[in-house]
């Protein structure tokens, strides 16, 4: 037998042995997996009608403008109850108590407790497809991520700001007292709600339910949705505040392949500019639109990227913004406070980029990073979070950076950098 023939036979034999070894190893792995399953205990958890967590946080803020740096210690109790009373009746209650103090390095401190009654309402199901609610309800609306122009009930609803993260601002806000009815059919629904005026003045006392913030004027809203195709499910809205002109809205999402979702949220109607609404400029009611549109792509490793463009026709364009910055400081501050309370854009255009990564290289470690860029003045906010979770405990580290020129959208914020460490326990 020639050398080449012997070599060929040896290689063939080697490959066969390798294939057999791989097969044996695979069978061993599968046998080990079956062995684990044999040892798996029987117990499955049972659903509960309540959810309770407590959280402790420490925040270090490095300030702009010669202000003394601040340290904040916060303890939070968050309770949610969703209980079926009997048959067709259901009660929902959600409350959050933030107990915190703010002190600077000179030792001066103030202690304030802020209770946020998020929801307290009863719900009656006349039948499976017809439901009515009454009480304080948080009707979260909007398909977008960083800015929600159709989320009418977001304004004046935030009592305690634990974080600049849009998710946190939505989770920790008050609902509005309202009556709501909803009719559902296969693939669609129609919702009507009325939120009455109950008080005219905001009450910032710690344990006040603050009806003046959420119910300072009569508001009504109609919401209709219908599934057009499996991937397209538009939602149309119309609403009106007291004596203002009606506003119209649209939420639209669509699936692009198996890994991407696109969305569009917009509203339009006659309204004043934000500056006029804040009474720093004369009335200037005109037809204005707002929108937030973008897409989210998810990779196989659970990394999701979202890019969103945001526009508000009620916000200041470049020349208007320069004029407001150059005007009286008191008016500028008044506008900024109003914009934050309204959860609205102070300038006309912005971009929002979000990256979130579940099990980021390490199981149970979630990373999140987003940046919001004001496209008018180029200021930006960057927010980072690393959160690790065990079965009942979560630990997180958050960092926020604000940059921009003085009196820019994010440059004007008193905190230049904020670092927060928090620990949460779920009961």
């Amino acid at each position: 037998m020639t050398f080449l023939a012997r070599f060929g036979k040896t290689c063939t034999l080697g490959l066969l042995l390798l294939a057999a070894a791989v097969n044996v190893l695979a069978q061993d792995d599968e046998a080990a997996a079956l062995g684990l399953a044999d040892l798996t205990p029987e117990s499955a958890a049972h659903p509960r009608s309540w959810r309770l967590f407590v959280e402790g946080a420490f925040e270090q803020a490095y300030m702009h403008f010669g202000l003394a740096d601040e340290q904040l210690h916060r303890a939070t109790i968050d309770l949610q109850v969703d209980k079926t009373l009997s048959g067709d009746w259901r009660v929902v209650f959600a409350d959050r108590l933030d107990m915190g103090d703010v002190e600077n390095l000179n030792g001066a401190a103030s202690i304030s407790d802020v209770n946020t009654l998020k929801e307290a309402y009863v719900s009656w199901a006349a039948k499976t497809s017809l439901l009515f609610d009454a009480g304080r309800i948080n009707p979260r609306l909007g398909a977008a991520t960083g800015y929600n122009p159709t989320d009418e009930f977001r304004s004046d609803a935030v009592r305690s700001v634990d974080s600049s993260d849009p998710v946190s601002l939505r989770e920790n806000r008050m609902g509005s007292v309202m009556l709501r009815g909803q009719s559902l059919w296969t693939g669609g629904s129609l919702t009507a709600l009325f939120s009455p005026k109950l008080d005219s003045h905001v009450n910032t006392a710690g344990y006040n339910v603050d009806l003046g913030a959420t119910n300072h004027e009569d508001r009504w809203m109609l919401i209709a949705s219908e599934q057009i195709t499996q991937s397209v499910n538009p939602q149309l809205l119309v609403w009106r505040e007291q004596d203002n002109a009606p506003q119209f809205g649209l939420n639209l999402t669509g699936l692009l392949g198996t890994a991407a979702v696109a969305y569009l949220e917009c509203s339009a109607g006659r309204s004043p500019s934000l500056a006029a609404e804040a009474m720093v400029l004369p009335p200037d009611t005109a037809f204005r639109s707002r929108l937030a549109g973008g897409a989210t792509y998810t990779f196989e490793n659970k990394l999701s990227l979202t890019a969103e463009y945001e526009y508000s026709g009620a916000g200041a364009d470049a020349s208007q913004w320069r004029a407001l910055q150059a005007g009286p400081l008191a008016a500028y501050v008044q506008l900024r406070v109003f914009a934050f309370d309204a959860q609205d854009m102070v300038t006309r255009r912005a971009a929002f980029i979000l990256a979130s990564w579940q099990d980021a290289g390490i199981r149970d470690l979630d990373l999140k990073a987003w940046t919001k860029v004001d496209l008018i003045d180029r200021s930006r906010m960057i927010w980072l979070e690393a959160r690790y979770h065990w079965r009942r405990v979560e630990a997180a580290l958050q960092l926020q950076y604000d940059s921009g020129t003085v009196l820019s959208d994010f440059g004007a914020l008193p905190q230049a950098r904020i670092g927060t460490a928090l620990l949460r326990y779920y009961f």
């Binding site: 046998a31 997996a33 798996t40 958890a45 009707p139 559902l184 979702v261 979560e394 779920y426």
Partner: protein, 259 residues
Amino acid sequence: MFDRLMCAFAGATLLLASVAALAAPDAQSILAASDAVRNPDKPFGLTVLLIEYRNGRQVGDNTLQVYSRADPSSGQFRSLVRFVAPPRDADKLMLKNGNDMWFFDPSSKATIRISPQQRLLGQAANGDVVTVNLAKDYHAELAAEEDVQDGDRQMRHCYKLAVSATAPNVTYDHLEMWIAVGSNRPVKARYYSESGRLLKTAYFRRFQTQLGGERPTETIIIDGLDPNWVTVMRYSDYAWREVPEVWLQRDFLPRFKPE
């Protein structure tokens, strides 16, 4: 004489072909029969316990409640999944209707559309957790009949099916399935991506009488890339449930309360 011989030959050929056709099992029917073993034929609910192991150590668990009904037009299951445990995920909901998927968080009251690629909670891909009728979205061909070890380490005589996707945007590009001859019980399956990469191997076992049939109450999933990554899915609390159509849409998610 010759004509009679030809007629006899033709008749014998036809007879043999008929017998062969009758004897050869229809792969698609076998696949559909195995779907029926796994999935009840009326709206139902069950509890799913998922326990995840890495390198032999338990690293996580989820408990889900699943409410399912078949779409009358497509035959594919539409499911509402409620997360029960761990506590941080309690009462979160996922609605799956093919690739039309929505996620609801009771904390933020947000209902968002998610892509099949997004696995917001837990290790198991959405397609694994909820029920699926493979025969509706996949085409099967009989590859072989062979003996294979089942999840209880017993040898089973099985049909080996080569199953390939026919519907767009399904979870897996193609599968190999071993289905027990006679009982049509699913024994084992391998799931592949479009590139041919083995994504996972699944064993079906602990067959029990549930909702009118002998059904696998445990699925063991072994990751294709990392065989030390194992998920045990155990099903319990089977019950016929009324699952109204109005439940299976985005706008109902904030109102969902099964009890």
